[in-house]
């Protein structure tokens, strides 16, 4: 696997370990007292997993070594050796983490945060739900309703809900406090949307016999609807999900289509391209069956769908999700601008109506033109408009993809220092603190934007 992608994956693993630790710390003492041996065992096992991952010193330090390798990968050798290293360092710890989260989920009985509803109101507002009902074949498709916490990496069988308009969704317990991890709660609602929109059925009929793999039509439509609704954050979220699931189909066929669509929608920045190129270079590992036969990576979108067919699906998503409900190019630009605030850990809930440079220039100009201008008139230029949850979450993902390797380095750097060999706790403490701070920043930003929106919408 190429280094950039591998750093992305390992950083996610560390984040998941830290998130489980934070959840465990969050459980009230009274609750812990009711099942003390269980919680104590959970902590012991989680510490064991952390120690095991941190013990993979050669692998972890090789992620940041400058030594040139033939393919830009960290581990050289035959594929069996490479797989063994990845299993030991990443996938086995992850599986154990999933088991622990299942355990914690069954005893902690956590519910989702109220800010999640604010995010869903942004993605599936009432007006959009009404539009979907009008357009769908049945009248039972609206959007996400009840959201249940579930264990990481597990898709439970959900009970049927006999209430019109309610779609049951699940959220990994580990992502409870992480708005960047909430994107998966649209899974079933988007599936419903795909199955009930007449335009999807019509297009499916039209493409019948022309697709290499017809079974992938609906999943691809679902991904592209998600992209239209959520922006590039959906791409990043899907990559991390697919990496942990070792979802070869996604990397072989869906990812190239998503990348093509991101370009079409003008949602591409330099870090996204770097990540995509890293996936391209890792396709041998990510989709070994199709790659292995010919020795060349197949070009997914041409293999499964022609570009024209992808464009046709994109056109469908544009028709079904009009601009006012979609994540737009303008919002993507705003998300890019929010990077500065994220870097300084400043609330993301709003953006200035004018850039500060423009305000400065305007102030100077106005004062020269009208020396007796009221200071209060000038102040109005400093006003801010609220940002949407989607803008903030996209900003968060863009920032994370850029800064993730630095955070990973800070977490594992005590390993590279021989003197600090026994001081690996420092790295994990730093990570826990950083994640907790950032979660608060996002949650507070989402809430604040809602209050801001309420105050300006009634003026």
């Amino acid at each position: 696997m190429h280094k950039t992608l591998l750093k992305f994956l390992v950083a996610e693993l560390f984040e998941k370990m830290a998130r489980l630790q934070l959840l465990l710390d969050e459980v009230p003492l009274e609750k812990k007292a009711t099942a003390a041996p269980l919680f104590s065992e959970l902590q012991t096992q989680l510490t064991e997993i952390q120690t095991h991952v941190l013990a993979q010193k050669p692998f972890l330090t090789s992620l940041f070594s400058d030594k040139p390798t033939v393919s830009g990968t960290t581990v050289n050798g035959d594929s069996a050796h490479v797989n063994a290293v990845f299993q030991e360092a990443i996938y086995q710890p992850y599986q154990r983490l999933c088991q622990l989260s299942e355990w914690l989920n069954s005893v902690a009985k956590e519910s989702t945060r109220p800010e999640l509803q604010l995010f869903l109101n942004d993605v599936f507002p009432q007006a959009f739900q009404q539009k979907v009902i009008q357009n769908s074949v049945g009248s039972d498709v609206i959007g996400p309703g009840v959201i249940l916490c579930r264990a990481e990496g597990i898709s439970p069988l959900l009970p049927a809900v006999d209430l019109p308009g309610i779609t049951l969704e699940t959220l990994s317990l580990i992502q409870k406090n992480n708005p960047l991890g909430w994107l998966g709660v649209l899974e079933n609602s988007l599936g419903q949307l795909c199955r009930h929109l007449p335009s999807v059925k019509t297009l499916q009929e039209k493409m019948k016999g022309k697709l290499a793999e017809e079974d992938f039509f609906l999943p691809v439509v679902k991904h592209l609807l998600a992209l239209r609704l959520l922006g590039p954050a959906h791409y990043y979220f899907s990559i991390q999900e697919a990496l942990f699931k070792e979802d070869m189909v996604f990397f072989e066929w869906v990812e190239p289509i998503l990348f093509f669509s991101l370009n079409h929608l003008n949602f591409v920045d330099k870090n996204l391209v770097i990540l995509h190129e890293s996936i391209e270079k890792s396709r041998e590992h990510l989709a070994p069956y199709t790659y292995g036969k010919t020795g060349k990576a197949s070009k997914g979108n041409e293999h499964l769908f022609h570009k024209d067919q992808v464009t046709e699906i994109l056109y469908l998503t544009e028709k079904e999700i009009p601009e006012k409900f979609a994540f737009t190019e303008k919002q993507f630009q705003k998300a890019l601008q929010l990077q500065e605030r994220l870097g300084l850990e400043i609330l993301l809930s709003s953006s200035h109506l004018y850039g500060l440079d423009d305000v400065r220039d305007l102030l100077d100009k106005k004062q020269q033109e009208t020396p007796d201008i009221s200071v209060y008139d000038m102040m109005s230029m400093l006003g801010e408009s609220p940002n949407t949850s989607r803008e903030m979450i996209n900003a968060g993902w863009i920032h994370k993809v850029e800064r993730g390797p630095v955070w990973l380095y800070s977490t594992i750097s005590p390993l590279t220092n021989e003197v600090g060999e026994n001081n690996t706790d420092t790295g994990m403490s730093w990570l826990l603190n950083m994640i907790e701070r950032r979660d608060h920043l996002f949650l507070k930003s989402i809430e604040t934007a809602e209050v801001h929106q309420m105050l300006v919408s009634t003026v």
Partner: protein, 215 residues
């Protein structure tokens, strides 16, 4: 010297990030600015002390124990936009500003209540209204209702005002002080008094003076 509205405005757009005051979100600046202050709004999260299982706060227990006790006795209340938090007469609650505030190194600030709310009996801080140079985060309110009727407090309402004073440039900004406890917090932060080093010293001193039990 206290900054007037024009000086505050200039600091909000200052070219130099080190000299710039950050207050965000500024929802309606013309409404929020006073001659020498900027009004700040109430946020959405509150903390109240549950007294039913608390006899007293034991200040010299081990720090970890106090931390756990504080967690157990503090009730976190999250209020949705458009919903009120009701502060009853005589009740005390912690809350925080809706805004994120960053004070440059050559300014100090003071948080005060607004007379509109003072006339209704709302106090927004008990004792700690001073903000050090270099502080960043949400400012904490120590809310008390000293009137005789319950007050409904809605997130987004302007309950306080912040004014700024010029200071000589500080050598050690608040955020970099070794024992800083509240910098960078974006939500309501409860007291971390037990982290003050004097408690550690008192604990040790007390241990030394405790009579040794006869064997």
């Amino acid at each position: 010297m206290i900054l007037n509205e024009k000086q505050i405005l200039e600091r909000l757009v200052d070219n130099d990030p080190e000299r710039r005051i950050v207050i965000t979100p500024l929802i309606n600046p013309a409404e929020q600015f006073g001659p020498t202050s900027v009004d700040l709004r109430l946020g959405t999260d509150f903390q109240v002390i549950r007294r039913s299982n608390l006899t007293h706060i034991d200040m010299i227990q081990p720090a970890e124990q106090i931390n756990e006790d504080m967690k157990r006795t503090l009730q976190h209340v999250k209020v949705q936009p458009g919903e009120p938090f009701v502060l009853h007469p005589g009740e005390f609650a912690l809350a925080s500003t809706l805004e994120f505030v960053k004070i440059p190194l050559d300014l100090a600030a003071r948080l005060e209540g607004r007379s509109t709310w003072g006339r209704l009996g709302l106090q927004i801080h008990a004792t700690a209204g001073f903000v050090d140079p270099g502080f960043s985060g949400a400012l904490t309110f120590e809310l008390s209702n000293v009137s005789t009727v319950p007050l409904q407090l809605y997130p987004g309402v302007r309950i306080s005002q912040l004014c700024f004073f010029v200071s000589s440039r500080t050598h050690l900004p608040y955020a970099q002080k070794r024992l800083t406890k509240y910098s960078g917090k974006t939500s309501t932060a409860s007291s971390a008094f037990f982290k003050d080093p004097e408690y550690q010293r008192i604990r040790q001193a007390k241990k030394q003076t405790e009579p040794v039990s006869p064997v």
